[in-house]
Amino acid sequence: MSVIELKDVHVTFHEGGKTVEAVKGVNLLALDGEIYGIVGYSGAGKSTLVRTINLLERPTQGRVFIDGEDITDARGARLRELRRKIGFVFQGFNLVGNLTVGQNIQFALKAGGWKRGEWRERTLELLRLVGLEDRIDSYPSGLSGGQKQRVAIARALANDPKILLCDEATSALDLETTQDILALLRRINRELHITIVFITHQLEVAKEIFDHVAVMENGRIVEQGETFDVFSAPKHPTTKSLVGRFLGITLPPRLVRSLPAGELVELTYRGDDALEPLISDVARNRGVSVNVLHGNVEYFGARPIGVLIVLVSGEDAAVAAALDDIRGKVLKFEVLDRDELAAGDEAHDGEEGNGAEGAGDKTIPPTDTDKDNDKDTDKEATR
């Protein structure tokens, strides 16, 4: 258990005469025992920032505190002692390929000063924790990505750390394995009371396990707060873009071309705001017809955020009034350009319309479909 605090942290690199400011004045507070997430596109400075916590990157300015203690200038034996209490899990696992699973973990035990006689028992204990005790003598090359990451997590936990830093720890894994690793990290966080700082560009990770989240862009934290609050009411353009890509839904161009006249509108709303009664009220009061064409709901923690594409048709004045009614009640209101949507990408014309436009990292996790079913029936409208 530990509190991590960064105060006005800057990291500047000098490479080949060029100066790169990777982190520009970040303030951050990760609470005792929570999972603190940092999201942002690649190149935002997330990796550099998380490395200042165990001083793999030393801040060029600013201070790093762990449990109130300023560690920024720690060196030598004190620095090694600190690092033993801060586990680090990497995107690429970073296991020593020519050593067995057991030897990889023993490396950390040796670093932590464990006696040789205790190694085997401790190694087995750690491997049991991550569910791999039968692979102690395997080489990493014989393991799947998820198994490698489990070994890396076991290694990171070898010296009973109070903090676990995860740098894109699930980004090299498929969706199902990602869910398994997240569940494991969640369990470690709860049962071992380890504060986790997790950086990722994947919102499906963020919504799953982050208690607090910071959004990073160009070396700065542009928005932070409780995960649901940040993602349900994004304020900064970067947050909006991340959330938009994640929730984003598109209509098949062929469908758009065959639609009757009317305004196409995309609505983003808090799932507990009950949008459907509002829509039927508006339709009745303004004498317009509102067709739900497409929808998606994602859960951030236990709370849903939804997005709907609706077609509002009727007399011009009535439609305008209806749109005004709706605009005030949703998080985000966007009138879509029909011509642009209808032109679309012919190559994708035949596909299901629920893939995000252009966003390579956007897919709807299969594991979410069950719990989404009750909220997701709107999709039927497209079929």
């Binding site: 090694r80 690092r83 586990g87 680090f88 020593v96 020519n98 490396f107 950390a108 670093a111 090359s141």
Partner: protein, 218 residues
């Protein structure tokens, strides 16, 4: 004397001298060159113990010795060897010259083997709180071992080549024999036998090295 007589009379001794020179230079080269390689690697790495001054100085010395073609190095070293062992025109004199060449050669070979180790592994090792020696022994060496074995093979084969040059100044070994009989006395048969023996030795060393390197990589 027939070709066969010459071979019988001189080849075993020449081979032993070459073996002696190559083994001494290989052992010294691997130990001292390897240490320099570690020093170059560690002082280059931001995560381990970056030290630009030490890296630049060691790097300069290594490069300086490596700039000299072995034959020139040999001639330059004659007074030095004379000072230490008296007669430079002996296998021991040759071995010393070979050592001087082998150390910087293997320093660069081993440095490059270490540098090929994924920096992520070093990062992960540093993150466990391990000391630099623990990181070197526990992570970098195991990971670099296959490349190191291949590097040792390259070093040995290169030293066999250089050891023949030692023969040209009359310091003994198989090169000396090739010059004396094959070149000065036109004993083509002797030369042919030496060529065949060299080819066989190099092939065998390469084959053993490849097998070892493969066995060490997982």
């Amino acid at each position: 004397m027939t070709t066969w007589d010459i071979i019988q009379a001189h080849l075993p001794e020449a081979l032993l001298e070459t073996l002696y020179m190559v083994v001494v230079a290989t052992v010294v080269g691997i130990v001292l060159g390897g240490l320099l390689g570690v020093l170059l690697y560690v002082t280059e790495s931001r995560l381990l113990h970056a030290n630009r001054a030490v890296n630049a100085i060691v790097g300069f010395i290594v490069n300086a010795i490596r700039s000299l073609p072995f034959l020139i190095l040999l001639v330059v070293l004659i007074p030095v060897v004379t000072f230490f062992v008296g007669d430079p025109y002996t296998p021991t004199g040759g071995a010393i010259a070979l050592c001087v060449a082998a150390i910087p050669f293997f320093a660069r070979i081993s440095e490059s083997a270490f540098a090929q180790v994924d920096p992520g592994i070093v990062e992960a090792s540093v993150s466990t709180g391990a000391t630099v020696p623990q990181i070197l022994w526990g992570a970098v060496f195991p990971q670099a071992r296959p490349s190191l074995v291949r590097g040792i093979v390259i070093t040995i084969i290169s030293l066999i080549g250089s050891s023949a040059m030692v023969g040209t100044i009359g310091a003994g070994g198989i090169g000396d024999m090739a010059i004396q009989y094959g070149y000065n006395r036109y004993e083509t048969g002797v030369l042919a036998v030496i060529v065949v023996i060299l080819i066989v030795i190099v092939q065998v060393i390469q084959w053993i090295g490849n097998r070892r390197a493969k066995a060490l990589a997982h």
